[in-house]
Amino acid sequence: MNWTKKDLLGITELTKEEILFILDTAESFKEVSKRDIKKVPTLRGKTVITLFYEPSTRTRTSFEIAAKRLSADTINISASTSSYVKGETLKDTAKNLEAMNPDVTIIRHSMPGAPHMLAKIVDSSVINGGDGTHEHPTQALLDLFTMREKKGTIDGLKIVIVGDIIHSRVARSNIFALRHFDSEIICCGPPTMLPPHLNELGVKVEYNLKKAIHNADVIMMLRIQKERGGVNYIPSIKEYSTFFGLRKEHIPNAKKDVIIMHPGPMNRGVEIMDDVADGPYSVILEQVENGVAVRMAVLYLLLGRET
């Protein structure tokens, strides 16, 4: 398969074949991170900008490490150090960055569609590193990579996503990706946090956590998006935790080899208890590890595309 796309703006733009192609490419890059010298010359001379308008630890670092392991030069710009605080528009920032000839810009923004806008302005590649409540494509790709690695397949699984679905770009991107596969997708959370029309995407809704995770192969826990007003959708964090916090005693309801996932950052004691987060079923740190491989694959494919 030849990669032709300039940008990675969302999972909705990818075919099933393209998703699998990224995952397959990531497999070969995973090995690089295990070497003594974790660097290949693939993207030498390429410039990668991370333009982050929202805070991030994992995603930004993961992209930076991915780029560096491919020998690209990386520049990090965050909202607090950018001209954004001086009132510069995204369009102007984009044009100015473009004038410095980067090869790819990874943007994170609080507003849906910001990466799409950027991609229309610049000729270089754009990767969506999370846009508001819309998409977080590389997160979904690393989640699928992890599921496939652990389960051997993405088909025939029962996957339960629990939490603040309405505000979650991770849930959206995962749903968009998993729809291509023959898996059962269940969303669980308080009714106020489950957006209407989920069923039109082939997603089942179950309010009761214990019922939702019955026989589950994968449980993906999400945090409450406080920065997007998530707390106004529930009476209190304490009550939320009572009904939707994943505890050790829940686990026997799921399949014996269930995996527990979380995109981070976790709110320990709220949506996930310590003994689950750090327990034997948790693959949370493996997700982080796989994130680097998946992002290496994405950078490699976009920058090495057929033109």
Binding site: T12, T89, L90, K91, H109, M111, P112, G113, A114, H116, M117, D131, G132, T133, H134, E135, R169, R172, P195, P196, H197, L198, E200, L201
Partner: protein, 429 residues
């Protein structure tokens, strides 16, 4: 100066006239409508309208001309240039200017400006409340005497039900309509319609009930004080159904919708094109169906443009922070002619919603092609194909989601007060 329009298919929705006939305009007035009128002389302009349709000039009860205060978005001059190009000969300009048109001096200013610069009739709409803040009534009587034809706090609802009740009741004194923008602000904290598309885009969404609730409330209040109410830019199918039911019990309800609510669905927002961001938002497929049905069964009386021009920079930003609104006055009529082709309305029925019905709502003596009436006329071609190019808009606002669309039906000539104020380049008559 006089104009003789020869051999056009003349449609006057009010009288039911629909035949190929000549129209003679002398001075400001239509002097004669008859077969084979013969006039000669150097002061008679003969217009050959063979194959074209001659109709009353269109009346837009809802436009934003932005003056005073937002002249970089639009002026009375550019807005009316755009209007006459689009086939409109009368335009009601909304009160959300800066300052708000809540007092006589602003109304005077608009009327003065229009007198010297406008290409068509401009009728100011006054604010219901001072500053459109929803608290105290504007001096509606003084505004009326200065020349307003309606009151509206368009852009928002009058949140306080008691204030709205007083406004409805008080404006009976002057017989002017209250034009209500129906939106529950607490429910409408979003930028697009709540539906499948918003689930996909992740954009903050507004449920249709944000409109429907206020439609119900406003009708209830109007009925209670026995005052007429006009509900503007109706977008949701639920609202149409409510209005249809309510009209059976209470006759003093009228409403309008806009071309974008029957030409586009929320699917158009999926590419994050900020030109699709409008308030109320573009709705779902089912809503569009019911809007069309409402137009067909006359639940919806009027088609208005809600022409909302914006400068490029207020749309050239992230979707969340882009301004709401569509620059629509130059595409409204052609988009609406599609309703005739689809069989939703006959051409006279469509014209009624652009002429007779708005004239009746506002109590203005226009919207007719009849002897003795003021000569506000358009000549248009039903089938002329053209491509929307926002860069060729006469409006300062290039914010159109219809850019690049191929449309059929084009206004060719506009006559206001017996004078030709617009002629399309392609029109050889």
């Amino acid at each position: 100066m006089s104009i003789l329009i020869k051999n056009g298919r003349v449609i006057d929705p009010k009288s039911g006239l629909d035949e190929v006939i000549d129209v003679f305009v002398n001075g400001s007035f239509i002097e004669k409508i008859d077969k084979h009128i013969r006039k000669a002389g150097s002061d008679v302009r003969i217009v050959d309208a063979s194959g074209q349709i001659v109709a009353p000039g269109l009346i837009d009860i809802h436009a934003h001309l932005r003056e005073p205060g937002y002249e970089w978005k639009e002026t009375i001059k550019t807005g009316t240039m755009a209007a006459v190009k689009g086939g409109f000969t009368s335009v009601v300009c909304m009160a959300n200017t800066n300052p708000v048109n809540d007092n006589k001096s602003v109304t005077d200013y608009i009327i003065q400006k229009a007198r010297s610069e406008a290409l068509c009739r401009v009728f100011p709409c006054g604010a219901i409340t001072k500053g459109s803040k929803g608290e105290e009534l504007s001096e509606i009587g003084e505004l009326y005497e200065a020349g307003i034809v309606a009151i509206s706090d368009d852009g928002k609802s009058v949140k306080n039900s008691a204030v709205l009740a007083k406004a409805l009741e008080y404006s009976k004194l002057f017989g002017i309509p209250v034009i209500s923008h129906c939106e529950d602000k607490d429910l409408s904290k979003g930028y697009v319609h709540e539906g499948r598309a918003s689930l996909l885009s992740g954009l903050d969404a507004v449920p249709a009930i944000a409109e429907e609730l206020i439609v119900r409330r406003d009708i209830t209040i109007a009925h209670y004080v026995n005052a007429p109410i006009h509900l503007t830019h109706i977008s949701s199918g639920g609202s149409v159904n409510t209005i249809q039911q309510a009209k059976k019990d209470y006759k003093k309800i009228t409403c309008d919708t806009c071309p974008h609510y029957f030409s586009l669905t929320d699917e158009a927002t999926l590419g994050f094109d900020t030109n699709t961001k409008v308030n109320p938002p573009l709705r779902g497929k089912e809503d569009v169906k019911v809007i069309k049905e409402g137009l067909r069964n006359n639940t919806i009386d009027i088609i208005a443009t809600d022409h909302a021009p914006h400068e490029g920079t207020s749309k050239d930003v992230e979707f969340d922070i882009a301004s709401f609104g569509i620059s629509g006055i130059e595409t409204a009529f052609a988009l609406s002619l599609a309703l005739v082709r689809e069989g939703v309305l006959t051409l006279p029925e469509l014209l009624r919603k652009f002429t007779v019905n708005p004239a009746k709502l506002l109590g203005i003596p226009y919207g007719q092609v009849a002897p003795g009436k003021i000569a506000d006329l358009i000549i248009f071609n039903m089938d002329a194909a053209w491509k929307v190019d926002r860069n060729s808009f006469l409006s300062k606002g290039k914010n159109s989601p219809f850019h690049g669309w191929s449309l059929k039906g084009k206004n060719l000539l506009t006559i206001v007060d017996g004078k030709i104020v617009y002629k399309d380049k392609s029109f050889k008559g």
